[in-house]
Amino acid sequence: MATSSDRPIAPLYVRVTHWLNAIAVVIMVLSGLRIYNASPIFDFLVPRELTLGGWLGGALLWHFAFMWLLVVNGLFYLTGNIVTGRLSQKFFPLRPKELLEDVLNTLRGKLSHEDLSHYNTIQKLAYLAIILDVVILVLSGLAIWKPVQFSTLSALMGGFDSARVVHFLSMTFAVFFLVVHIIMVALVPKTLLIMTRGR
């Protein structure tokens, strides 16, 4: 019989959805940047080498194929987390006082990563933020893709043109999260084991 120490810290469905999500996010960002270049909303273009698809039509094919992976996989992850109670166990309670302590500890270089089965408050906040961010990414994407069928959603985003801005900014946040996330994994490599073999 499995003891509690044998039980994986990251359940299998979390690990699978994590890596599928990683694939989806990378492809969505790279193809999205190529789509951005076709009609940039800011005064810069993304270097071609950082884009996927070769031309707008190719990038759109990637984007609209892998959006399904992002959405279906994301819904599976969220449902799993809610149904198993993982969401409330791992991410809550989220106390501002603890957050302040953790931020101060981080600044002193004293934030502990001894017990990886628990998220510290900064982790809780960061993971909840990226989940919310991806939800906004998907919703703003829907508002851009279907401004007529989902006209209310599009209006909520401030109209078609600002939905593009929301989409771009939430993408930027996701990339920022990804960079910090990878740095943290490099600093605490054990987390990579947890996310692959579970322990």
């Binding site: 790279l30 909303i41 996927l52 070769g54 039509g57 094919l61 893709w145 043109d161």
Partner: protein
């Protein structure tokens, strides 16, 4: 509200950048649909089976056609705008430059073929005698920019009735000057789909598609054919100029 995100000259910048950047890209018809720039760079090798990836992506694009057809609500109207919100000047957009616009045809007649009973040709005068309507809607380009314009003409469902088209057929195809496209019958019958004769209450100018443009506010720009010469009704998907190169066939918004 959305204006504040953009510099006052954003539109000009966008169209300049766009012209400089994509004009050559829009001409690379012979080239591969997919160059896997980023992926091959990351992995340090080129993918040899471009073809199978391309096929898989096209399978997804066909799936997205069906999904959009299912999602399409025939009673859902595209937002309309007041005339003050019309984008001036309305952008010219084609795969060729503005000075390359084809000379306008004289003695124009619209041909009608396929699954229709009334196979007569239509002059602009005859089309003008059908009930006319106009609307101010947002044109959304697949590239991401959008612009509000006013188009007027014949409700396309009225025209299909006039030519006694078989509206149980699946597709309506358009042959245009140097270009063709096709749409699903549901969209063809949508109340806002117009066979336009005017732009901003004037005869449709050459740069916006004289003599005829089909304005479909529920579809992206490349699905709104300009310079229409022939309309045909069919059960075999006729594809399209852009669609055959990889743009999604349904292209709905």
């Amino acid at each position: 509200m959305q204006r504040k995100f953009f510099s006052p000259h954003a539109k000009e910048i966008v169209s300049d950048v766009y012209r400089g950047l994509d004009a050559p890209a829009r001409r690379m018809f012979g080239k591969k649909v997919l160059s896997l720039g980023a992926i091959s760079m990351l992995s340090g090798c080129t993918l040899s089976d471009d073809d199978s990836i391309e096929k898989a992506l096209m399978v997804m694009s066909r799936f997205n056609d069906r999904f959009q057809g299912w999602l399409f609500d025939p009673d859902k109207m595209a937002p309309t705008y007041s005339e003050e919100m019309i984008t001036k000047p309305f952008p010219f957009n084609a795969y060729y430059e503005e000075h390359e616009i084809r000379p306008s045809p004289t003695n124009f007649k619209l041909k009608v073929s396929g699954l229709v009973r009334g196979k007569k040709d239509w002059t602009l005068l005859e089309l003008g005698s059908l009930p006319q309507t106009s609307q101010v809607t947002r044109h959304i380009c697949v590239e991401g920019w959008s612009a509000v314009g006013k188009w007027g003409g014949v409700r396309f469902s009225d025209f299909l009735a006039s030519i006694e088209a078989d509206t149980t057929a699946r597709y309506v195809g358009f042959r245009c000057h140097d270009y063709h496209t096709s749409i699903d019958m549901q969209t063809a019958l949508h109340a806002q789909t117009l066979l336009t004769l005017t732009y901003a209450d004037e005869t449709l100018p050459a740069k916006y598609g004289y003599p005829l443009k089909l304005r479909i506010p529920t579809k992206l720009g490349y699905k709104n054919p300009k310079y229409i010469q022939e309309v045909f009704v069919t059960n075999i998907n006729p594809g399209g100029f852009w669609e055959d190169q990889g743009y999604n066939w349904f292209g709905g918004s």
